[in-house]
Symmetry: C2
Subunit: 582 residues, 2 copies
């Protein structure tokens, strides 16, 4: 038996008991006649004391050998601590050690195992097993487990069945790039790793499973951006005999349950916003509504004056930034530089300072008088002390630019509070989006998403205007889930494919097995998938997902700890009927 208690367990009530603890050496303070050692495990830290007077001489000597991260087992008596540590759960006691076993020595770790470490990102990735010993990472993993259990128990109670779908499936040319797996037994053929279990969950609905879910790894071989992983986890769900309303209700219930069970928060009914409204008000289909700063469209009040830039613009739109009227000229110039960065791409920014005395001072005073600017203030809901920032240009571009500025200003003003949760449904997404490159419509969600019945008639005449039964769940400016009601009608599906530019033969080749299945009685169905890594990170009040993944990959898709991917030997290649093509 390696321990009688863990290192977070002992309290005053245990005083005078003999106990055995095992764990890692967090810290050694050697005062010559007295040595204090902090011993750490997953559950906490306990202070050990080795006293020249009271500890057996050989044990005392051995304690002198201890170094950081040694693995030890100690036996001793729980005693009251002279100077208590109120910051430590075990801070009222310490262990007067009578026996010490060094279970394993340790090299000096390459970075400190502390909440605030001196280790950089790369080093922490390489020694991830040491990084996991640190509270912030360890607690993130414990938190992830807690959320996963809560999700499973909630959905299970709601009658959902977790079904494991296969990982070795078939490559489809649509969507992102697949990771593929050469088959040894089927020469020249490849499996693909799933980008999502989309088709399988629809097949489960055809199979009558009624309510399906799965916490499942998905794979996308895309060029990695910051905070994106080639393998990621989804909460994947599908339901049969449902309408959009049923699905929103269930997953609103799940999210409310998580906020309650994880954070003790009671959240009101989630607001809903159409895609069109979200774009108009926030320039974004995943608005962060923890704060206002809604867009004020200024075409009516700012155009048809002498300011050519605005007159020629498709859209003139602004936001009021609280308290920023006090910005210096230099600060404003820096802000203008910020919006002109290539990542944002604005050509410039017009601003209006809303002075405390009710007057306005703008960068376009030449063209607009106080009365004009008052109308701008009204449209952007600006108050004295605010800075109105105005961008102009092609509508969809200028909205994206202003949205970026809005988020940036909110961050600077501390409005994106990690302990505040503002969920939002965005509904009525467009069914199709026009792709400039291929000059055809693409399915915005996927080709099985059903159009709104009332928009059916627009399908041939004005496909870009057709709205879908598609919805996203947005939390604090992040899309944490999205889904749709699927098409279950064969006729409609055919029209959809033709709209997307597929010949019937192409549709059959790519989606044949699902189309075939649909001939044997497909129920109305729909579903949703949550990005689990991000959901957990946001619930955990963090911006990045990496600490919530035990063994993440870097931006080149490498696991630097195990040094993967790596070359394999020729014999293995031969068996798989492939060779390198470098």
């Amino acid at each position: 038996m390696y321990r009688s208690h863990n290192c977070g367990k002992l309290r005053s009530a245990h005083i005078n008991q003999e106990v055995t603890l095992s764990g890692w050496v967090q810290k050694v303070r050697d005062k010559g006649f007295m040595i204090w050692v902090d011993i750490r495990d997953r559950y906490g830290i306990t202070q050990l004391i080795f006293d020249e007077e009271r500890t057996p001489a050989d044990v005392f000597e051995k304690a002198k050998e201890l170094g950081r991260e040694f693995v030890i087992q100690v036996t001793g008596k729980v005693i009251e601590r002279v100077s208590k540590n109120p910051n430590l759960a075990t801070g009222d006691i310490e262990i007067l050690v009578t026996n010490l076993t060094i279970l394993n020595t340790a090299n000096t770790p390459p970075f400190t195992i502390e909440d605030e470490t001196d280790g950089g990102e790369d080093l922490r990735m390489k020694y991830r097993y040491l990084d996991i010993r640190r509270n912030p990472v360890k607690n993130s993993l414990l938190f992830r487990h807690k959320v996963a259990m809560q999700v499973r128990n909630y959905l299970s109670q709601e009658g959902f069945i977790e079904v494991e779908t296969p990982y070795l499936i078939k490559s489809t040319p649509e969507g992102a790039r697949d990771f593929v797996v050469p088959s040894r037994m089927n020469e020249g053929q490849f499996y693909a790793l799933p980008q999502s279990p989309q088709t399988f969950k629809q097949l489960l609905m055809v199979g009558g499973m009624d309510k399906y879910f799965q916490l499942v790894k998905c794979f996308r071989d895309e060029d990695l951006r910051a905070d994106r992983q080639p393998e990621f986890t989804q909460i994947d769900c599908e339901m049969a005999f449902v309408e959009q309303e049923d699905i929103l209700n269930i997953f609103e219930g799940l999210t409310r349950n998580l906020l309650k069970e994880i954070h003790g928060l009671e959240v009101d009914t989630f607001p809903r916003m159409t895609y069109a409204e979200a774009m108009k008000k926030y320039g974004n289909d995943k608005p962060d509504i923890r704060f206002g700063m809604e867009f004020g469209e200024l075409n009516e009040v700012a155009q048809h004056k002498d300011f050519k830039v605005f007159n020629e613009a498709d859209l003139v739109v602004g936001i009021a930034v609280t308290g920023a009227a006090a910005y210096t000229r230099k600060e404003i110039d820096k802000l203008i530089d910020w919006v002109k960065r290539p990542q944002i791409g604005a050509l410039g920014m017009v601003y209006v300072k809303c002075n405390e005395d009710g007057t306005y001072k703008s960068s376009v005073d030449k063209f607009y008088d106080q009365e004009d600017l008052a109308k701008w203030a009204e449209a952007t809901q600006a108050k004295p002390g605010d800075l109105i920032c105005v961008l102009s240009g092609v509508a969809h571009k200028v909205r994206a630019q202003l949205s970026a500025l809005r988020m940036e200003m909110a961050t600077r003003l501390g409005l994106r509070k990690s302990n505040e949760f503002a969920p939002l449904w965005v509904v009525d997404f467009p069914l199709l989006e026009w792709d400039e490159e291929t000059e055809r419509y693409h399915a915005m969600h996927h080709p099985f998403t059903s159009p709104k019945p009332e928009d059916f008639e627009l399908i041939e005449t004005n496909p870009g205007e057709v709205r879908a039964n598609a919805y996203d769940l947005v939390l604090n400016g992040n899309e944490i889930g999205g889904g749709s009601i699927r098409i279950h009608d064969k006729e409609l599906q055919s029209r959809m494919f033709s709209l997307l530019g597929f010949t019937p033969e192409q549709a059959q080749a790519q989606f044949g097995f699902l189309m075939n299945a649909f001939q044997y009685g497909a129920p109305p169905h729909g579903g949703l998938a949550f990005g689990f890594d991000r959901l957990v990170a946001i619930l955990g009040g963090q911006e990045t997902i990496r600490d919530f993944i035990a063994f993440p990959k870097n931006n080149a898709g490498r696991d630097v700890m195990i040094d993967a991917p790596a070359s394999i030997d020729n014999e293995q290649l031969d068996e798989l009927h492939i060779k390198l093509n470098l």
Copy 2:
């Protein structure tokens, strides 16, 4: 809203309520003036009635169009059934339909959607989504979910944390063949899919996670035998600061909990048996102890007579088969043929009929008298009416042969009852096994398994005799789990590698990242993995795992439903820096 109730819900208490149901047409009985339709969903079957007198004419006409597996929605009144069906949960009522919507038509399914179907294995695999509609498959998947939830909740309550380990890892030349994944971003390099998260779970122990588990997909590119899948699910577990006893206790607790929660069975403390004892008594390291038929070794009583075959044998061993003394000569000859089949490989079989009158009749009466045979009967615990079957030869071969015979006879005698559960720990596995081909020792479990301290001294002198801290959990003759205490001492690990024929450089190349991690303070640790597919099948009283997997692959590793694996296009190959080598 597609339904007010599901198809398994309605009872007498609902009579006179108007309800809406959705589901599939299970059966239509058209009597001209009256049409009965069974509607089915995941939850059950409800009888619908369309009555020429009471049903609106257009609805009645539409009902005539219905075919098997059509998807329909009906509204109507719950009425009492004239002839009740006690075999159906909803058998007291039926729905007098007033409204019928055909949500989807269906082609005639290629096999009947009934508990006993006319569909063969291949057809059922190709149309798996239809197979899943059948109760036996559907219920197996529901059962799997129930077991998975129970496992997770139990382990979670015991303080285990589910941690997701990566799927894109590194290929290792040890063990079975890896599936590999070419990397697009890392030219000429490959990921491998994990055969198990073994190294990651050990790294989690180094990282202080203390108690880890995961229900996780694992991958092995082996030639498939019946009832083996290239991707399979494990309950993977690891614990730090534990000895073998701690691990056995925890997972005995889990298994007892499953038997209780799933089957309402209270099981006694699991018996334990050493590997040596299991081999001696049952010729098998995963004995089915639901029945006796223990081996009786006969060397002492059967050798040194005039029977040369036995005299020259390494081992003479028999079992007593209950009641089989009544076998005719022809039946016994067939049994002898059975043991001589190449899969079994015995050269012959000696038998002794234990007559009801206490006399014996054997196939070797020439060499043995009644007194001799009485000793055989004693050694095999044979009773009057039993047939003693005796095999001889090289010990390890003859044990395997007799074990196969024992299982066969138990099956014939109906002793392998699917609703009876006999768990057993097999402990003290050998650390090493000699490989004839490579003429060196291999790790029986894996190279990180620790030897028993008391056997340390044999490591250099008699390595084959060294026992490991390795254990298997056996249920009804199946190994459902296995694991070991790992080596955490660097010195011992080095000796182990050298024993296994690795140079230090080879050991570093193959297991470097784990060895490195061990330098930073590895705790004593150990673990276990359950084969989840098999565990669920056995708990479900089935012999084969296939119905407990939603979308299994066939014996050629193909998913015949989606037709995977498949060829991919050249552009994709180019991007991955590989070409075919056919």
